[in-house]
Subunit: 308 residues, 4 copies
């Protein structure tokens, strides 16, 4: 495996730039429609402390589904693996789009924590006496995992999410009806909408991925932020289910455990090596950053590291 | 066709009584669990003014899904056939259970106005500046169609419906997300829960069925309560979709356009002849009154009237 | 109900003619692609012996799915109601297209005898030591029900059916795998393809419908051709499932128990009154004769007979 | 990563033995019902030439779905990546059981090459003028990938497969109907049934996995048996889809790209390191070797190698 270098990253960015005009920003959330689709950034943080960035790596964007990784980590911490996976949510990939409700009816338990239904069930399992307390706990944990206190809510995105959240409301009430979700549905959804609307940068999600690849310990501080076992579970799920119904193709093309969001971010965790964060808001038909995938494909080729 | 007589009705009741212990009251709505399952009543009103009743024909029970008939009649009056059936709800039977959400995802428009999703879309189309106004209009119309001012809300049933209504909430938000439902979801659901919780008797729903069979005119008053065309549409839908996923079998066994409710009622409209109301709260596995179906099957045989 | 007259029929034909250019002949079977789409005919036979015809009422066309009615009648005769409906095939309409395989997987038993899967199961239940014997028995019965010895195989249509029959083969093997179908799959399919390829006329299927409406007795000969109960079951299924996923809408528009075929025929049975046969090969998107439906809608209005 | 040793393998076998009584042999194929469920073997071959075995590593068993890996490798060689994945078969995992037909209807292209429908489409793409020639080519390639000329057909298993193959026939005809499968359906299925009925040992499939992990080159001979890119694609698919609807859970538990068969085998390819073959015919509810998974889980823990 060739060492990662600044030049490598810049070449990857240049390669990725050719792809931005093949996608478009998410249309179903009003806030996202107006984001500049030519933005593009990439950031790498290695377990031995090196940091590289290129392009718009400090530009804030909404974290969207990448927040599901943080929610899962916190719920695992709060409730343990057994509680969560025996009754609330499964571990299996599914060929369905992210917001599908079909399988809930025949199968009850959402297939995995990264489809919307599964993530809502996960958020419902986070401890806290109220929605606000849950969100406060989640936000604090989010900042530590990203190594940044700057992470905060994008109010406009949150209002946009809430306004267009009826499909998620349908999922949540369905979960409630089948006893997959405890507590107040409105409060749980509010935490869900908020966490999706957090502002992060490519550097922030590279740090989140770094902690996951370093088996739960932040190499910058030496602090253990999650159990090694939980980091392993999350990386596995990122590999099999991290890019919606494009996960299988992405595993073939890139092969890094990754989680994408419709805000345009992708976080990739290369165990014992590095975390990578990319940001490019132009999405393909399945909701993943077109140029982001291209950058990761490029890096996967030049580093020639096969995870499997 | 032999003339209907009081004896015939009493024989039908006696025949039906043998079936009550084959079913049980609806378990998923707390209020219904505790209803006496041995209650049984039947009522007939003919277009030429004769009235017969046997058994518990004056005992109030909650109307449940039979209210969908009234909601459909009012929405047709308010909006017309074209508005309703071109974009809001279909006319096709479906083999799915009443509260299924699966087909909404692949097909968008609910299959027909008698599955829950379709009925919620229909309620959403009723005119009124607020939920209260919609419900008031619906209740007034309900009383006229049943020829009874005594019809009123069963508060306990309403609370019970509301408390266990999460699956209906999921359906409503899904409709909202796919633009099949306008206006406030909470208000629409509240009207829906209220209308299902109205207290009626077998005599009341026999009158409702009588108006439908008399092509929209109440023979008692001579007043036209709905367009003949709308009565025809509703009778057709009762025939193909009126008994949930037992509609096909019921058409074979009985052959009368009918609408059932999980409160134990069934209303049957025999065009140009009579309306029949039965009440027996013990339900079969598909949610229809066991003894009620038996009574209608008996009457269909002794009257030997083939509708088709 | 105004008496049916020759003029009425000719007016209906003239009305229907305006609709032929709204449809097109079935494209998926090569043989049907080349049928002249402007052909149009209608035939009526009443239980009291009157006969009327207009247009191309003597032009042969392939019976296609209308043969499912005859197969069902023969299987009921051979095996009885209980054998057939307890384990082989259901009685419920379904919103799925005619050749759908989806519900077989989740529900095993085909929903009703008029979707392809159900009809194949029905054909499998017909008695006979070989495919040839089954088909011979079916053909003899077919001719008696249609009151015509002229009915015979259209060889070209049969080859066309067999050549494009892979979806039906998939259904048949699925039924075999789930033990809904006994005997040799190839032989059963061959009977199925043959029966769909029989040449009939509008007059023939009017006679078939007449026998059904006369409760199983051919009024021309006084001979009982099927049990009254079986005729009733078949009429009921025609009403709820006879026009594929357009059955509900057709019940609203026309309200006659009917069975259509992609060859362009529709047979309608008005109990105790008459049988109607129409033929017009231009089909709508759901596989039913556009002009045929228009003719039946016209007749339903001018005769003002409400079946329900 | 601790070196793999003979002791390690024997400990893994001893650990796995505790699990054999939690499963049972495949019941739906007569031949498999009577296999001794206490058999258990494991074999490891490293890229640097070491070989270890424990237990019944030389006992022949039927390869079943593991043959799908070989068929895919050959089809990729014959037709290339683009031909295969653009139109014949996808790359996405699915939560459905291995023999599901549901998604074929809505999606046409089988989700991936390891569900039965996908594998049948892959077999159809293998070059050869006849079924026999296709099978001969496949068998020759099979032997080279396993480094063993002893691999041959288990006639009894083949007859058993063919006799109970109706669900696969249904899948094949459905693929044919939707033009996902060219050529003769019967011949393609015959190749499919034969390849599933080949006798292999744990050592054979360890060798197959070794070639995959050594990027397509057999380290024993230095010969390139498949393109490095094809080996990578296959490993990726093994990771996301290799254990039917247990793939996601297996990725969490074990994390090795693996392919299982209902004969009780599992082949695991650890890139640049080793191939592992396990054999234990007692299966869990989803069709995977119970003790085989336990052995792999044990090895994954003691070797502490995280692939991702």
């Amino acid at each position: 495996m060739p060492e990662i270098t600044q030049t490598m990253l810049e070449d990857a960015l240049a390669y990725g730039r050719a792809f931005t005009d093949q996608g478009r920003t998410a249309q179903y959330i009003p806030y996202l429609r107006h984001v500049d689709r030519d933005l593009l950034g990439v950031s790498v943080r290695t377990v031995d402390g090196r940091r590289f960035s290129a392009g718009d790596s400090k530009t804030p964007f909404t974290v969207q589904s990448i927040a599901k990784v943080v929610a899962l980590a916190l719920a695992l911490r709060d409730r343990g693996e057994k509680y969560l996976f025996s009754g609330r949510v499964g571990l299996e990939p599914t060929g369905d789009p992210f917001n599908s409700i079909i399988r809930l009816e025949t199968d009850r338990k959402p297939y995995n924590p990264f489809i919307n239904a599964g993530a809502i069930a996960v958020v419902g399992a986070i401890k806290g006496r109220s929605g606000s307390e849950k969100f406060e706990r989640l936000l604090r944990y989010f900042r530590r995992l990203c190594g940044s206190d700057a992470i905060s809510l994008c109010g406009e995105a949150y209002l946009s999410e809430r306004e267009t959240g009826d499909k998620n409301r349908a999922l949540a009430y369905h979960l409630k009806a089948t006893r997959m979700l405890e507590g107040d549905v409105g409060e749980t959804l509010d935490v869900y909408f908020r966490m999706c609307s957090l502002y992060v940068t490519a550097e922030d999600i590279a740090h989140l991925a770094l902690v996951l690849s370093n088996r739960g310990v932040d190499p910058a501080t030496g602090e253990r932020l999650m159990e090694a076992d939980h980091a392993r579970i999350i990386r596995s799920l990122m590999l099999t289910c991290g890019l919606y119904d494009e996960s299988g193709e992405f595993a073939v093309k890139v092969g890094y455990p990754s989680k994408s969001g419709v805000g345009g971010g992708i976080a990739s965790a290369l165990v014992d090596r590095m975390g990578i964060g990319v940001f490019g808001p132009a999405l393909d038909a399945r909701g993943n950053s077109v140029a982001g995938i291209a950058i990761l494909e490029y890096l996967s080729k030049v580093m020639d590291v096969r995870m499997f």
